[in-house]
Amino acid sequence: MIMKKEILLQLQNISVYYGGVKALDSVDISLDKGEIVALVGPNGAGKSTILKAIFGLAPIHSGKVLWHEKEIEPIPHEAAQRGIAFIPQGRRVFSHLTVEENLEIGGFILKDKHKLNRRIEEIMETFPILRQKKKAKSGTLSGGQQQMLALARGLMTDPKVLLFDEPSLGLAPKIAKEVFAKIKEINEKHKTAIMVVEHNIKFSLKITHRAYVLNKGEIVAKDTSQKLLKSDVLEKIFMGKLV
């Protein structure tokens, strides 16, 4: 019996302009329930812009964003309420707030105080380091700890979809590996669909099911991560042979 895939998130024909510069050109992307999808490509390919467009943080010129196959207007604070979490690039934690306060803010849309406290406890069990540092100002944490906090904060609402922009950026390889292991664990344990933008192709294709390869704002290839790893398309893109 063939199981029908449940599409959670879709981008149809999305074009984004920054001023007069085209950042995305008629991009079609989808994310199914329970899968991890990677967006890979060289700098300036438009990978991060895709995540921002889903959250209404990039100016969409044309095209549609669909949530459960229904068109939505991407508005940042509404995306969180739908069950989409976004962890932006650069370990952007609320540096003047404590670890615990960061988690509280991560669960801002949870109105029930008991539910919020319970969720903080659950998250701290998943990320033991955060329990140890819960009263510390997040600006004082190490890079890896801040990235874990950003991930934990994103998970506070138990999202159906997690968008993660450059999880390994600026982290030592060992720490980056831990972050990727956590991403994989979250996907397997909670069936959270994850879309990850990552410059480290090896890392990302190892843990993802499918991947889109972008170049200059266009999708130039899409396939399962295993097939892409074996193909020469990535080499061509990064060596500048595929235009």
Binding site: L57, H77, A85, R92, S95, L97, E104, F108, I109, M156
Partner: protein, 288 residues
């Protein structure tokens, strides 16, 4: 000894008024990262609203004070909704927002002058009948005691609001990183609107207190704005505690600075303090 005591009282009272201005100013700056110059005119709005309801309509003074505070808050909220929010939406720079706020300041000040004339007025019913107390040779009036008590109450309330409520934590999050605050589901425009309401209401209240202590005039907002901004910069702009610290420091420096010289030097001393801080500690006392 009497002069010394009096100078201490004067410094504390001035510090309390400046602290109220700086609190609202820093609260708004923290959330929006622009210098809202229109903040000063909220003091005149508060003062003149009470003046209108008590002197023209002969309403109950307490009711008039509440209306004055709420009206100043409402004007601040409306300024954000109809001027600053559309500009932020168009990604206007902080300089554009600053100029817009100065425009709003000037326009509102002119309207107040047209409606009420430019004469100096007082809100007190009978200044000579006002109770005063002598402590260590210095004199403090009942109104001044109310200024101190209400400043302390507002400062405490604001601290509790910021640290103990979801709303306060949302303000702190916006102040830290507005984009990420949006991402976690905070309707930042709504919260910023409320911040304008609260900050402007506090400034309105400060204007009312000044109106009872000394008096009101349409241009009163400019002097109070300057003092509030100096206090904020000296203490650390955007930092609530810094603003309060800066306000009291300014109050003391200003009042003790004129101990042996004419009171006309007060403003010069205040700006000298600002310049010293801008040169040697531009981030203020509290900001690292």
């Amino acid at each position: 000894m009497e002069i010394f005591s009096q100078l201490i009282f004067n410094s504390i009272i001035a510090g309390a008024v400046y602290a109220l201005i700086a609190l609202g100013f820093n609260l708004i700056y923290g959330a929006t990262k622009f210098l809202n110059l229109a903040h000063g005119v909220m003091t005149a709005i508060g003062g003149y609203t009470v003046f209108y309801f008590t002197k023209t309509l002969d309403w109950n003074i307490y009711l008039a004070v509440i209306i004055g505070i709420l009206f100043a808050g409402l004007i601040g909220f409306s300024l954000d909704k109809f001027v600053y929010f559309p500009l932020r939406k168009r990604k206007a720079s902080n300089m554009v927002l600053l100029v817009a706020s100065f425009g709003a300041f000037t326009a509102i000040q002119a309207i107040i002058a047209i409606l009420f004339n430019s004469r100096f007025q007082t809100l007190s019913q009978n200044t000579s009948a006002q109770k005063s107390f002598e402590i260590f040779g210095g004199v403090i009036t009942q109104t001044q005691l109310i200024i101190l008590a209400s400043a302390a109450l507002i400062m405490t309330g604001l601290v509790l609001l910021l640290h103990k409520t979801r709303f306060g934590k949302a303000i702190k999050a916006i102040s830290d990183d507005e984009e990420v605050a949006k991402i976690v589901g905070i309707n930042t425009n709504k919260i910023i609107g409320y911040v304008f309401f609260i900050g402007s209401a506090i400034a309105g209240f400060a204007g009312i207190l000044v109106g009872f202590d000394t008096g009101i005039e349409p241009t009163m907002g400019l002097d109070l704005l300057f003092k509030g901004v100096i206090a904020s910069i000296v203490g650390g702009i955007g930092n609530l505690y810094g603003g309060v610290l800066g306000a009291f420091l300014l109050g003391f420096v200003e009042n003790f600075g004129i101990w042996k010289i004419s009171g006309d030097w007060k403003d010069a001393i205040a700006f000298a303090l600002l310049i010293v801080f801008l040169i040697f500690r531009p981030r203020g006392i509290m900001n690292k």
